[in-house]
C-alpha cells in the first residue's frame, strides 16, 4: 500500500504521464508516455522530443499541430515504426509495445512526388503493398475499391507524372487504404497543394474516414485544417518539444467548409489554438 502511494510522489512527471496516457491496452490505438528522441550531432545529442505523452482512441481523428521544425514528422515516424524512440520511452500500438512497422498502420507521406513509383501506373502503385500477399482476384477487387473511394477509377492506367498534385496525393491515399489500415498516419499530406484542392481533399478524407472507420493521426502546421478535421488537436511545441496543449474539438459532423467554419464554437477553438501558439512564440 505504502509503496504504491509513494510512487506518484517520486516524480511529478511520471504522475502526469500516467494520468494522461497510461490507459488500458486495447482501448487505444496508440499510447505513448515519457517518449523522447535524440539525434546524434557532432556537437552532441540533440533532443528533439521530450516526455511526449498522449493516447489516441480507436476511430479518433487527432491532429498534431505545431510550428515547422518542432518534431511533428519525427513523432509520426516513431508511430509508424520507422524510427526508434529513445531508450526507455513507452510507445504502444493496440496495447503492444511498438517494435517496427505494423500491419494495420498505413502512412501517407508529405511528398507524393518522391513517394510514388514513377515507373508504375496508378493502379500498380496502389497494388504495391498487396503484391505477394493476396491473390490476384482479391488484389484487383481491393485496388478497384480503393481507387473508387478516392475518385481515381478513370485514371488507373495513367502514370503518376501525368496527374495533378492533388490526384497524386489521392493515389498515395488509395495506396494506404488498400491495405485496410486500422490507423492512417498522415504527414502534412495537403501541405503542398493549392487552397482549393486542399479543402476538397480535406472533405474527401473525412468521407473516407467515415466509410472506413479508421483512426487518423494527422500532422499539420495549418491551424484551420487541424481544427476543421479533428476530434482532438494536440499542440506540439518547445525545444525539445512536448505536447503542451490538448483541445477537444466537439463540433458536429459531418463538417462543412462553410457552416462549420462559421460556427462560433469553431471560431472559439481556433482562437484558443492561436493563443496557445502565440504563447509559444514569445
Amino acid at each position: 500500500m505504502s509503496t504504491s502511494a509513494a510512487r506518484p510522489a517520486q516524480s511529478a512527471q511520471v504522475a502526469k504521464s500516467a494520468q494522461s496516457a497510461r490507459p488500458d491496452a486495447a482501448d487505444h490505438a496508440f499510447a505513448c508516455s515519457g517518449l523522447f528522441v535524440e539525434y546524434p550531432l557532432r556537437t552532441g545529442p540533440l533532443r528533439v522530443l521530450e516526455d511526449v505523452a498522449f493516447s489516441c482512441a480507436p476511430g479518433e481523428f487527432i491532429s498534431i499541430l505545431g510550428p515547422s521544425g518542432t518534431g511533428k514528422t519525427t513523432l509520426l515516424r516513431i508511430l509508424a515504426g520507422l524510427l526508434a524512440p529513445g531508450e526507455g520511452s513507452s510507445v504502444t500500438f493496440e496495447g503492444t509495445p511498438l517494435t517496427g512497422p505494423n500491419d494495420g498502420v498505413a502512412i501517407v507521406f508529405q511528398d507524393y512526388r518522391s513517394s510514388l513509383l514513377q515507373w508504375r501506373t496508378v493502379r500498380k502503385n496502389v497494388a504495391l503493398g498487396l503484391e505477394g500477399r493476396v491473390d490476384k482476384a482479391e488484389r484487383d477487387q481491393r485496388v478497384d475499391a480503393a481507387l473508387d473511394l478516392v475518385g481515381l477509377s478513370g485514371r488507373a492506367r495513367d502514370y503518376p507524372w501525368q496527374l495533378s498534385g492533388g490526384m497524386q496525393q489521392r493515389v498515395q491515399i488509395a495506396r494506404a487504404l488498400v491495405m485496410r489500415p486500422r490507423v492512417l498516419l498522415m504527414d502534412e499530406p495537403f501541405g503542398a497543394l493549392d487552397a482549393m484542392t486542399k479543402t476538397q481533399l480535406q472533405d474527401e478524407l473525412l468521407r473516407v474516414r467515415e466509410v472506413t472507420g479508421a483512426t487518423v493521426v494527422f500532422v499539420t502546421h495549418d491551424v484551420d485544417e487541424a481544427v476543421y478535421l479533428s476530434d482532438r488537436v494536440l499542440v506540439l511545441s518547445g525545444s525539445p518539444a512536448r505536447v503542451t496543449t490538448e483541445l477537444d474539438v466537439d463540433l458536429p459532423s459531418p463538417r462543412d467548409q462553410v457552416a462549420t467554419k462559421e460556427d462560433p464554437k469553431y471560431l472559439r477553438i481556433r482562437h484558443s489554438v492561436y493563443e496557445t501558439l502565440k504563447g509559444v512564440h514569445q
Binding site: R77, A80, G81, L82, G100, P101, D103, V105, A106, I107, F109, D111, S114, S115, L117, Q118, W119, R120, T121, L128, G129, E131, G132, D158, Y159, W161, Q162, M179
Partner: protein
Amino acid sequence: MTAGAVTPDTETPGRGSASQTGARPTGRRVSWRPRWLVGLIVPVVLVAAWQLAKSAGALSYANLPSPLQIWDSAVTLTGNGQIPGDFGHTLAACLLGWVIGSAIGAAAGVALGLSRLVWSYSMASVEVLRSIPAISFIPIAVIIFLQSLKMEIVIAAWVSIWPVAVSTMAGVGGVTSAHRDLAASLRMSWTARVTKLALPTALPKMLVALRLGLAGALVLAIVAEIVGNPHGVGYALVNAQQQAQPAEMFAYVLLTGVVGVVLNALLTLAYRRLAPGFHLAESRRTTSGR
C-alpha cells in the same frame, strides 16, 4: 514565334514537357522525317564519288574495290550462304556471351550495391579487372578454351560483365530514402525491395551499360575469330585477306556496321516495350530538367 504556332501539339500528355523547356520549338518534330532522309544524302554522295573515282581510274590502289564490286561480292556471298552462316555464328557467340555476361554483371552489381560487406571486399578487385583491356584476355582464353565457340562466348561475356556490374551497382544504390521508408512501412520483403524498387531505379543506367556491353561483345567476338576460333565474320575477313579478295572484306565489314546499328535499335525498342512507364518517366524527367 514559330514555337507559339505549334503549341496545341504540346498539350498531349507526355509531351507537355517540350513546352516547358521552351528552348526546343516543336516545329522540329514536323521536320523529323525529312531530316532522317536528309541523312542519306551524304553516304549516297560519298559512295557515288567513290564509284566514279574508281571507274575513272583516279584511285590507283589496286586492292581498293569499287562499291559495285563490293555489292556484287555481298550478293554472291549471301546467295551461297556464306554471309548468313558467318554472321549467324558471330551473332550467336556475341549474343549468348552478352546475355550471360550481363546476367552475371547485374547479379554482381546488385550484390555490390546493396551489401556494404561485398562492396568492401570486392570493389578493389572489380576496379582492377575492369581496367584490363578485355582484348588482352583473348590469347589467354585461346590457351584455356582452345579454338572453340566457347572461347568466343567467354570473351564476349567477359567484356559485358563490367559496364553492367558497375552501373547496376550505382543504380541500385540510388534508391531514395522516401522509397526506403515506403518499403519499410509496407513491410516489403528483401526480394520485393530488390525487384520492385532497386532494379527499376537502376534500369536507366543499366540500359546504357547493356548497349555498351553489346557493342563490346560484337567487337570482341570478331577479334576472337580473327586471332582464335576459325569461324564466323572474323575468320571470313582473315580468309578473304589471304585470298586477296578485298571486295569480300569490305562486304563483311560494312555489314557488321549495319548489324551493330540494328542490334542497338532492337535494344532500344525492347526497352520502350518492356518498361513503358519507365521510359516515359525518364524522358520526361530529362526534358523537363528535373
